[in-house]
Amino acid sequence: MIKSNTTFPTKFDAIVVGAGPAGAASAYVLSKKGFKVLLVDRSREAGSKELYGGRIYLGPLKEVWPDLDKKAPIHRWIKKERASIMGKDGRIITIEYNAGRRTSFTAYLPELVRWMVSKAEEEGTIFVDEVVVDELLTSDGKVVGIRSGPDEIRSDVVIDAEGVNRLLLEKLGLVSGPRPEELALGIKEVLKVRKNEINAQFNVDDDEGVAWILMGDITLGIPGGGFIYTFNETISIGIVIHMANAIRAAEAGAINHSFELVENLRLHPYFNKLWKSSDVIEYGAHLTIEDGLSFMPKRLVYPGLLIVGDAAGLILNTGYTVRGVDFAVYSGKLAAEAVEKALSEKEGATEENLKVYEDMVRKSFMYNELKRHRASKELMKDPEFFTKISRIPLKFFSELYEIDKEVPTAYEAFKNACRSEDSGPLSLMFKLWGMVKKL
């Protein structure tokens, strides 16, 4: 009848700390290869600490779960890409691109992560939630397991998937504490709206969605932006602001509370008709990485340890594209492959044997993307880009379209727009060209 106490093994091939997309992917791939894997997370339920409410790119995820697009809890496939520049006086420029094929989708990240973790469990991963890992155990300069309260568990290798808050790596002295220059603050609200209302308001079908980025006055000129994403029966809206600039703005008294920026977005007369009858059913905030390459630890591999996902700085934010979930999953997969290779060698998970993971990351599309878009980082921290430069096109269109008697030529409108920001057309062109090159 009821099983009584017996002893059970407490040594694993791999321990994965953190059950987000990176941790779940590495646990899944390793378990599938037949390794004994323990996945540990502090949340009450897998995924419940996730906050990201944006779009997720399918490609890298499919390399881990080929049936993800059919089986996972996907809400809507992004059909419309919108970008808006917002001015102070209700003037807004919006462009829309109607996509030709399905490359990204919206999903509740907690739901999606639960699905990923359940796949890992199906392959044999032992998943333990509600447990905080206090430190990584080391012996002779090698990571040999984890400690949680009074309990220690050993493994040949530990995969650190602890996310942007790298408390374990900090404790080991492998990374320094968070620096505002590298980070951004994301604040999100989830609005409950009926499905057919979303479809009508955004002009999409049941399984089609909208990814909408906003810049300009929505962050009161603080480098960053706003976002709107549609889900099955909810809309997630929010803002992301560059931490260092946000702190400066707060100190200068330009913003009071950061959540007011999201409230301004929800109540904004241009947008609030899209969610007239909505209820705010959830709100939250999370740190995110603004500059992946500088956030990245010096090395991604130490004896007995690999670093994946956010903890490894693998997030790309170009201003018009945000990639984190797919990078996390892909880095988890690469780490698992490296572990398989290392553990097949006689010496096991030494730094030399695990090094292959770092090489794979540096050769991967992720690293390429981060390097390629590095220049856009500078732009994303540049207040001028978010104030002056975004006001000029608004002024241009207002000159062109808001007419009393005379219609200016497009050139005249442009000249006036530049003059209003103390800039000549030519110097502006140079400046813009410099900026565009960075994008």
Binding site: M1, I2, K3, S4, N5, T6, F8, P9, T10, L38, V40, E45, I126, F127, V128, D129, E130, V131, I146, S148, G149, P150, D151, I153
Partner: protein, 278 residues
């Protein structure tokens, strides 16, 4: 050596349940269930007894299969094993039918595993607050019962329990086996421990009993065994928020503004005047 059975209830998180003012019903859809919080105190209490006298702690719950999540939590706290009583036949039970099933399950544990010395329950549940279950279970078992317990001491086959009332602490000596319910918030539940939770996941020390195992008279369980009738539910309508934001200069300014607003409103001004005495 003491064998303690601790009862837990898997309840909707009432803080997340919303109310439909049109139909007068609870909207439970999508609301996650949790362990009834007072029951976590009962689990802590049971674990303390186990640590003090040796023996084992067994959790029982009558719930749908999703309650495995809750049982894993208490196993993670250090409970040794768990029984999930789960069967469509038990659905729709009131406290009478529920306590009957729980009492029979405790008898079955006594038969199959070994004599149960104590059954521990939480004071009440957050989703109905009747506090019937421990008392009724004790009645079915014909065991003595004391509620609002904060402490106990076992001596041979007797137990001395302390119970708190508002103004005093009383001590009772009971014969074992007996039933107690633990005074809410008198004891803080411990966190889940890695090794305990790991054992729960690897060994899965949870057994599921349907009515095939318990073999109870179908007339005494579930909806059929439940004489309770809910004749009427009333509720207070939600007061719509005024959504006024005032940015005060300092606390005094805030207080002045708040009082002036309270006095403007007919209802609140009455209450306010009554509170401050005119």
């Amino acid at each position: 050596m003491v064998r303690v059975v601790v009862g837990i209830k898997w309840v909707p998180n009432t803080q997340a349940v919303r109310f439909d003012p049109k139909t007068g019903t609870l909207m439970r859809e999508g609301v996650p269930s949790i362990i009834n919080p007072p029951d976590l105190s009962a689990v802590e209490f049971a674990l303390k007894i186990k640590e003090r006298y040796g023996g084992e702690a067994i959790a029982i719950t009558m719930a749908p299969p999703s309650a495995v999540k809750g049982l894993e939590h208490v196993l993670g706290m250090g409970v040794d094993r768990a029984v999930l009583i789960s069967d469509r036949a038990f659905a729709g039970a009131d406290t009478l039918a529920t306590s009957y099933v729980l009492a029979e399950a405790i008898k079955k544990i006594s038969r199959d595993v070994g004599k149960v010395d104590l059954a521990v329950f939480g004071q009440e549940t957050i989703d109905s607050s009747t506090a019937h279950i421990p008392a009724q279970t004790a009645s079915w078992l014909r065991w003595p019962y004391v509620y609002y317990v904060t402490d106990l001491e076992i001596k041979d086959d007797k137990v001395v329990v302390s119970r708190v009332l508002e103004d005093r602490v009383e001590k009772y000596e009971l014969e074992l086996p007996s039933v107690i319910s633990v005074f809410m918030e008198s004891i803080e539940a411990r966190d889940v421990r890695l090794l305990h939770k790991l054992r729960a996941k690897i060994e899965k020390p949870i057994v599921v009993w349907s009515n095939k195992e318990l073999k109870l008279d179908p007339r005494c369980i579930g909806l059929k065994g439940s004489p309770t009738m809910v004749s009427k539910i009333t509720w207070t309508l939600e007061v719509p928020r005024k959504k006024i934001v005032y940015k005060p200069k300092d606390p005094e300014d805030a207080a002045r503004w708040l009082i002036s607003m309270l006095l403007k409103d007919e209802k609140t001004s009455k209450i306010f005047k009554w509170v401050v005495g005119g």
